[in-house]
């Protein structure tokens, strides 16, 4: 049985200039201790999907579908129940460690807050545990750092603080939203290392949201590719890298610098406006394989290999890349 089962998740934003469909009919599952990579260009709805699970989106968002965790539908749970899950069972590490920490409070205070809220620790115990957590995420001199403000830390350290905060209550799922984007390459590696470590030591399932396929290849068990609010391909990590089916995935792989792959290619065109859901393959305008069919119908997800699903009328590896 899976830890988390999401079914038919749709997210719509109502703005002044009309509705924006950020996520359309997204379904997936997450197993115990599994690392799921979610990839796609920015604005494709990856972050929105996962934030919507914990109902962290602004009120202009309308969320439909269901998300079952621990026998509870997160999208319909009472606010109190949801709050008992947030930070305790499912924790988030956000993209921007700079702005995601509250500048007005000491980091110890911000981590301790979770502990006191969920584990009912006393102020003193919380502080001791916070220092342990800082140690766990390999922050040097944790007993001093605990009393510092976020602006006194470097970017990498802030992200470690975020992770410490996320794993404070030993959650079942850790959702890491582009945890390394804002960081230097060397620090990135350290953070990914840390996440692997956490999975191994704590058995936490991890959702790794990123636009960087390299990161996914490193850590993930399974990969989910999103484009314009829809899932376009899903497969175990080796399968995906070995046999990418969707032209978009192919394009993404082309955009990853790999030794021997020749010149780095770009995906031409731009991510479509999400104001109106096209009754077509959303990728069609940028797709070299697009035809009349792609432009008039939405392709369904098909299983092309075991556990390998793709939503494309013309799946298959890129001829050029394969060559």
């Amino acid at each position: 049985m899976s830890l988390l089962a999401v079914d038919g998740l749709s997210v719509r934003f109502d703005t002044d200039d009309g509705p924006v469909h950020a996520v359309d009919q997204l379904s997936f599952t997450l197993g115990e201790s599994e690392v799921l990579g979610v990839v796609g260009e920015s604005g494709c709805g990856k972050s929105v999907s996962f934030m919507s699970l914990l109902r962290l989106l602004p009120e202009t968002a309308t969320v439909e579908g269901s998300a079952t965790f621990d026998g509870i539908d997160l999208l319909r749970a009472s606010p109190a129940r949801l709050r008992a899950i947030r930070g305790r069972k499912i924790a988030f590490v956000f993209q921007e460690p700079m702005t995601s920490l509250n500048p007005a409070f000491k980091i110890g205070n911000q981590i301790g807050e979770v502990l006191r809220r969920h584990l009912d620790l006393s102020r003193r115990d919380a502080r001791r545990r916070t220092i342990e957590l800082l140690e766990l995420v390999r922050i040097p001199a944790p007993d001093q750092r605990v009393d510092e403000y976020p602006h006194q830390l470097s970017g990498g350290m802030r992200q470690r603080v975020m992770i410490a905060m996320a794993v404070a209550c030993d959650p079942k799922i850790l959702i890491a939203d582009e945890p390394t984007t804002a960081l230097d390459v060397t620090i990135q590696a350290g953070i990914l290392d840390l996440m692997r470590d956490i999975r191994e030591r704590l058995g936490t399932a991890i959702v790794l949201i990123t636009h960087n396929l390299g990161v996914v290849a490193d850590v993930a068990d399974r990969v989910l590719v999103m484009y314009a609010g829809r899932k376009v391909e899903e497969a175990p990590v080796h399968e995906l890298f070995a046999r990418p089916q969707h032209p978009y995935t192919n394009g993404l792989l082309g955009a990853v610098p790999r030794p021997g792959a020749g010149r780095l290619r770009e995906i031409p065109g731009r991510v479509p406006s999400l104001a109106e859901l096209p009754v077509a393959c959303a990728f069609a305008p940028r797709c070299p394989r697009a035809d009349q069919l792609s432009r008039s119908q939405v392709p369904d997800l098909r299983e092309v290999a075991p556990q390998h699903h793709v939503a494309c009328f013309h799946p298959g590896p890129d001829a050029e890349a394969a060559a």
Binding site: D16, G269, R270, P272, S273, P285, R286
Partner: protein, 293 residues
């Protein structure tokens, strides 16, 4: 392989933006109402000689403090003058002071602010101290002082209000210029060797326009109220010229006998400044989406 980008509609982006702004504006009934009422006040001010039933100073010593009637829609004041007519005539002073003071403040503040923000350095520091000094004097005290120095009159009150409003605007213009200077297109223009004047005229000023328009719409009601305050204190419009502030000042002695004399001009000031405030708020909302998202 041909990649065709069809996601962006091929229409003039400016026209498109205008259309979007208009649509956003029309979707705000309060802003639309504010716009219409503000227009009505401006028209009343312009057309007062035509539409006012009586001249502003026409006294009738046999009808002092009369209640409203067919002859006098809102009654008469302590000198037997038609209150409704005086309110129409009074709109002139308010609108004039509101608009001209704001224009004056802009004319003073925007160049100074741009220079400070664009050139930074000691120019900026000097201007900052200067505005600090100006800001150290509460607005009304500056206005009272200037009105007293220049002599009380509508023109001088307008000047006082304009100068009084300038320091805050200088800060805003400076902030905008400071931010715009860092924009890529300005840097590009600098790199291309465009003259400062040209950069300011072509890039900086146009791009701060929407902020300035919003500030202006908010400054107008402040100046309208400011004019009323100064006139109320005897430092603005001088009787017998009608102004809402003067009417309120006159009415003060008759609060018990004829409270209506204090009520009507107050409502006029209130509606007039409210209309501009609603308009300004609406404009801010549509021009600066940060506050709405």
């Amino acid at each position: 392989m041909s990649f065709v980008d069809t996601s962006v509609a091929a229409i003039n982006p400016r026209a498109r933006r205008r259309r979007i702004l208009r649509r956003r504006f029309m979707r705000r009934p309060l802003a639309v109402a504010g716009f219409l009422v503000a227009i009505a006040f401006v028209l009343a001010a312009i057309l007062a000689p035509v539409i006012a039933p009586y001249s502003a100073g026409a006294t009738d010593f046999n009808a002092l403090l009369a209640h409203s009637s067919r002859h006098h829609l809102l009654g008469t004041d302590e000198l037997g003058r038609d209150v409704f007519s005086r309110i129409l005539w009074g709109a002139r002073a308010s609108i004039e002071a509101g608009v001209l003071a704001t224009l004056l403040a802009m004319a003073v503040a925007v160049p100074i602010g741009i220079v400070a923000g664009y050139y930074r350095g000691w120019v900026d520091a000097a201007i900052a101290r200067l505005t600090d000094v100006l800001l150290a004097f509460p607005f009304l005290i500056v206005a009272v002082g200037l009105a007293a120095i220049l002599g009380p009159s509508l023109t001088n009150a307008t000047i006082a209000l304009g100068i009084g409003a300038a320091p805050a605007l200088i800060r805003i213009a400076r902030g905008e210029a400071l931010a715009l200077r860092e924009e890529d297109y300005v840097r590009a223009a600098v790199a291309n060797g465009a003259s400062d004047l040209r950069i300011i005229a072509r890039h900086v000023l146009p791009n701060m326009l929407s902020t300035l328009i919003v500030q202006a719409t908010v400054a107008i009601p402040a100046a309208i109220i400011g004019e009323a305050v100064l006139s109320f204190l005897g430092l603005g419009v001088q009787p017998p010229t009608p102004s809402w502030g003067v009417m309120l000042s006159d009415a003060q002695s008759y609060l018990a006998q004829a409270p209506r004399l204090a009520i009507y001009p107050g409502i006029a000031i209130f509606l007039c400044s409210l209309s501009f405030n609603l308009l300004g708020d609406g404009l801010r909302d549509i021009l600066d989406p940060r506050t709405t998202r």
